[in-house]
């Protein structure tokens, strides 16, 4: 091999040296050389404590307190005898699993090293160390560990797949091809886990083939991988490049346009066992998402509750739980979940907006206003938040405040579509209400002028909305009952009432220029003859 990756050894040193120091310490305390194999039984208390004290726990300051506490609890537990007589190595491995979940890859690798050195003959820890080394980019170290597991009955298949992947990342596509069989193992594709393994194998074969210039082979493998794992949209990218290499530009463009970031997920039983909580909560959230997509909100809510029982700080579960509770009318529960979310992500403007809406539902207008203003502070262009704040102020009788919010909303180029229509209609109604006149023709000139401008803008906004939604399924604009049509017709009528027949005629013509529901078109046609050209 000509290439010596200097940096990988530099990179590895931090984690590896920690582990080596720890093991040396453990051996010294036990009165044995460091290379001797420690007993897998319960180590003496001083050994446990010394190992834990030597390990440098990373700064957890930025983590959510509950998560930091969980890591610290698991770390402190390393010094204690296990209540169930469990293995110390397993506890170190559990710490590694928790650390890597929260982004502490190097300390996780160091913890895995300790587990491996405590029980050198245990393939589980070899595999764990390999996976973590893989994640930290030390592919040489990972590959060595995977290679040692190829014949292992339990880890052989996964180690082979991961090694093949590492070889690809190390620039050895030929080695990837040689490691992986072309054909599936017998019965492999008959169960979900086997299909994922087959899809992963095929995806690696496809990428290796592409790297070696075999575009035809790459398309065959990647197409089959996508049949087995259609959710793995990351495969569309190499597939597109393979079609491109074959000169099939149309298929290439089509595949490239579908590229995404989901690869073929492998279920890893070791990491699952080491952190059942995490995996369990994750799976429950996935099931909840599927239930929600299928329209079963009650089931989704139940699944989110169970996920939170497993992992109270799971953001996806909290978000989903709040949403389903709100959908089911359980505002109190939704509020609790939303407030918990804000403890974890205080700068998320969407969550503040949701809190404001929930408070509005309960008519707690002061709390709602505070939440909406916080959302706007974080995201000044948050149109829905500003509109809701305007409605809140209007309903509270603060017409000036509402008008100010609406003006800011309408001044933003981002206020478009239905929000723009609604904001204009509300603004128009506020102007008319403030005038408190008997009829539009009695309005003060300035108010009438402002109303006329808003009415024209309203018609324009409805026309834009209709054009943008032309042909869009479920847009609702096809129905004559859509509030946008009613608002536009009312605006044309207002212009006529204000004596602006020419403007009303122009607005009606503008409205008639888009595809209108027949009932709306009849009303427009009825209006037009009465207007001076």
């Amino acid at each position: 091999m000509r290439h010596v990756p200097v940096e990988s050894s530099r990179h590895r040193s931090a984690a590896a040296s920690t582990a080596i120091a720890l093991v040396a310490l453990a051996g010294a305390i036990a009165g044995e050389p460091a290379s001797a194999q420690p007993s897998p039984g319960v180590p003496p208390e001083e050994t446990r404590r010394a190992l834990a004290e030597e390990f440098v726990l990373p700064d957890l300051g930025a983590l959510e307190p509950a998560i930091a506490a969980a890591i610290e609890r698991r770390y402190r537990g390393l010094s204690e005898p296990a209540a169930d007589g469990g293995r110390l190595a397993e506890r170190w491995a559990r710490l590694a699993a928790l650390l890597v979940r929260y982004g502490f890859a190097e300390p996780a690798l160091a913890a895995a090293h300790v587990a491996r050195e405590l029980e050198p003959g245990e393939p589980d820890w070899v595999y764990l160390q390999a996976v973590l080394a893989d994640q930290t980019g030390d592919l040489d170290d990972a590959a060595r560990s995977y290679e040692s597991l190829l014949a292992d009955a339990e880890w052989g298949t996964l180690a082979r797949l991961r090694l093949a992947s590492a070889e690809l990342e190390r620039g050895r596509p030929q080695s990837t091809l040689e490691l992986l069989p072309d054909a599936p193992a017998e019965g492999e594709e008959e169960h979900a886990a086997g299909r994922r393994i087959a899809a992963r194998r095929l995806s690696l074969l496809g990428r290796a083939a592409l790297a070696l210039g075999d575009a035809r082979g790459a398309t065959l493998a990647l197409e089959r991988a996508l049949e087995l794992a259609p959710e793995a949209n990351a495969l569309h990218y190499p597939l597109g490049l393979a079609y491109r290499q074959l000169g099939d530009v149309d298929r290439a463009r089509s595949a490239l346009a579908r590229r995404g970031d989901r690869s073929v997920e492998l279920f890893d039983p070791l990491l699952a066992r080491l952190d059942e909580t995490v995996v369990s909560a994750h799976d429950l959230v996935q099931r909840a998402l599927e239930a929600r997509a299928a329209g079963d909100v009650a089931l989704a809510s139940d699944l989110y509750s169970r996920a939170l029982a497993e992992d109270p700080s799971n953001l996806a579960a909290l978000r989903g739980h709040a949403g389903t509770a709100a959908a089911l009318g359980d505002t109190e529960t939704a509020l609790r979940s939303t407030e918990r979310l804000l403890e974890l992500e205080p700068d998320h403007s969407g969550t503040w907006f949701n809190l404001g809406v929930l408070h509005l539902r309960q008519e707690r207008t002061d709390a709602a206003e505070e939440a909406l203003r916080r959302a706007l502070e974080l995201t000044p262009e948050y149109g829905d938040a500003r509109y809701n704040l305007a409605l809140l102020l209007r309903d509270r009788g603060d017409a000036a405040g509402a008008r100010e919010q609406l003006e800011r909303l309408l001044a933003s180029p981002n206020t478009a579509g239905r929000l723009r229509v609604e904001a204009l209609e509300t603004s128009l109604r506020l102007v008319l209400a403030a005038a408190a006149a008997g009829s539009p023709s009695q309005l003060a000139p300035a108010v009438a002028d402002r109303a006329a401008v808003l009415a024209q803008e309203l018609v324009d906004a409805v026309v834009v909305l209709a054009e943008e939604n032309a042909g869009a399924p479920g847009s609702g604009l096809g129905e004559a009952s859509d509030p946008a049509w009613r608002a536009a017709l009312a605006a044309v009528g207002l212009l006529r009432q204000l004596g602006h027949d020419q403007l009303a005629r122009q607005a009606a013509d503008h409205l008639a220029s888009v595809e209108l529901p027949s009932a709306v078109r009849r009303q427009v046609e009825t209006l037009r003859p009465s207007l001076r050209p």
């Binding site: 990756p5 940096e7 040489d140 050895r172 592409l210 190499p238 490239l256």
Partner: protein
Amino acid sequence: MSSTKPSVHTAATTARLVHAFASMAFVVWAAAPLLADDDTPLFERLEAPSAPEHVYRTGASGERYLPEIMGGGGALLDFDRDGDLDLFLVQGGPLGPRVTSSERPADQLYRNEMRSGEPETLRFVPANGSGIREGEYGMGAASADFDRDGLPDLYVLNLGPNELWRNRGDGSFEAVGAAAGVDDPGWSTAASPADFDGDGWIDLYVVNYVDFQFHRHRQCPAPSSALDYCGPLNFPGSADRMFRNLGVDSGGHLRFEDVSRAAGLLSPEGRGLGSSVADFDRDGRLDLYVANDQMANELWLNLGTLDGRTFVSFSDEALLAGVAVNGRGEPEASMGVATADFDRDGDLDIFLSHLSEETNTLYVNDGRALFLDRTAETGLAVPSFPFTGFGAVWLDLENDGWLDLAVVNGTIKSIDAQRATGDPLPLRQSNQIFRQLPPDPGSAAVRPGTTPDARFEEISHRGGEAFTRAAVSRGLMRGDLDDDGDSDLVLVDLDEPVKILLNTWSRRRSGENRWVGLRLVDVHGGQAPGAVVRVTTTNGAFTALAHTDGSYLSAHDERVLVGTGTGTASAVDVLWPSGRVEQFVLDGDRQYHTLREGDGRTPSRNER
């Protein structure tokens, strides 16, 4: 010729010639001697008082404003046309909503006072009469002869309005950015000057990063530490600009026109940090590659002048070309960009520097602007995984004919261990040099576009202190500062003195490999960025791009320096940006030649 763009360009003849030019039979280079394994570092630092005493000041105040960690760079240019390279360096300084420009240290132009043929007299002194006064927070610079007076002008990229400094020829410059219409007010990070429309005037493409506003500033939590710098996706993107050079009007004023929209070049979400102009698809028109941070990169293929428009149009074909995202389909945090024909197959390949845990990326061109990510196969992936790369240049360290890479690093997220020591800028990483290994003797011919034998090895430990001591490195310029025929570097580290790094090859091994240097002058007497040269030697041909753009926040030596190994250069074919192909006979190598468009011989059809 296969091409991904519509065949709307009328100059079909030119396109055919270009194809013939570029598809000359590839010659496998005989194995060159390996780099000597002696103790002399590859680069030695020019020390004070010969080196400029310039420190790029970040102004880091603890607020963690993103611009603090994104500067700075500069430009290499021979502003006084005395034959050697001078140096312009931008400055940062205090940063904050109430900081005024007068509080900031000034950018500085340095004159190279080396005596001809005496590299040991290399010395940079402040060019105090330049008249350049910059109060904006500086990022980088570009250089080109925009007004066609034969003198390089200077375009300064700022956080805030950019400035164009027009070279008066008497050692002073005049600020004309606003009057010329190129005072882009955004946060600019790169610029590619080139004559995109072939009208003889050098146009200007300006890359903008994000819409940074102090009133929207906040800090972002890192997973393993306290509050830190926010990444680019926390800010709205900022659109790049294409300025068409309208030339000098009757009053002597240089004018530009913003043609971004008309040219189809507006991508408001782009968070660009680098750009490179070159004819990637070899159709005779200059294309543009834009490196974007944490989002897809763009490859703007030049479609020529459509429908009687006054300027050329572009179409982004990066996704199909395979250079939008890496080989796994993932967008990366692209920072520096370096373009060259590293594999000697006649087309231009692209190297990008990236964030740690992403690896840098090498896109290899198959000659049709269809690229494959060959980072892992060439050995460049694993060594770059822990590093966040910024400046990146191709250079031939020992003139063996195989281009090597220099990449300078410095992370953007605090390193806990450094922060724990109280380091005010805990982002330090060491820099890297990758040497391209020549193909094994007797190996099969290299297949264009597949480069099965291309391989790099990291030799950073041999680079000298600038490559072994950790710093926060950003701008990296390449040029032959002492005119000794090898590529030197200028490195800008944050809050540290700028480093002039002189290549020691000419001293160590000057008796072996050969080289030729080329200065290209177009038919109007100006520079020719985007021109491609093919140097014919006794041991095969070498293709090289004339350019000053690329790397990060930097502008390079406008001259083309080609290492030819043991081959003696005899002739050069030049494909000028105008589309003209000319052949020049060289009367010797190991020297610089000036090639003027129009003075060469037009090769016959058979010769092409």
